[in-house]
Amino acid sequence: MHITTTKGLMDTDLLECKEGNVDNDCECTDWVEYWLGGECVHRSVHVRLKTSPALFAEAAAFA
């Protein structure tokens, strides 16, 4: 498979792949990096937002 890198399109077989993820209350995030000779030549990130704070409204009562 070929991917975009800082050095142009490259075959992933020639690169070292590193992956990671974060999963918390707000997001689930995956990232993938490809390295060549100690240099990161590609990094993509996928953030999945889980929720956002709601804005609360209120109808006032008469005293």
């Binding site: 804005l55 609360f56 409204a57």
Partner: protein
Amino acid sequence: MSNSQAMATSFLGQLLTGTHNFGSSPTRAGATADSFKAALFLASGTRNAASTTYSVTDEVSGAGYTAGGIAVTNASAPSATNSSATAGVGYWTPSASLVYTTVTLATAFDAVMIYNSTQGDKTVSVHTFGSQTVTAGTFTLTMPTNDTAAALLRLATT
């Protein structure tokens, strides 16, 4: 039966479609939906509830990224759902992920601003996530489920 003090849930949804105007502006040009955009901001920036208008200050920059960000896909109109006789939620979520394709964003960023490019770039909301960089890659921001509990924009009464 009895009366219950409440803000109409339909009103919450109508706030999201500009049905009500308690002031004198803006004058809406038509009945079509406005256009919205999504811009990314550096982790060192200060976008928050006080942000009133999109500006390039503190926005990310790098190969493949255009200042101002990308268009937000808006194929689903806002909804409003009652949860009780006195409470409800008006809500809306973009209908597609935000995808910044083949970009290099070397300085850490952790926020996306949704703003109204039809109405003078006025800010709608700011959403944060874990700090990221992208190198000759794609940054994808997938939206939460469009429902009363998780939608990207929720106006709620309790």
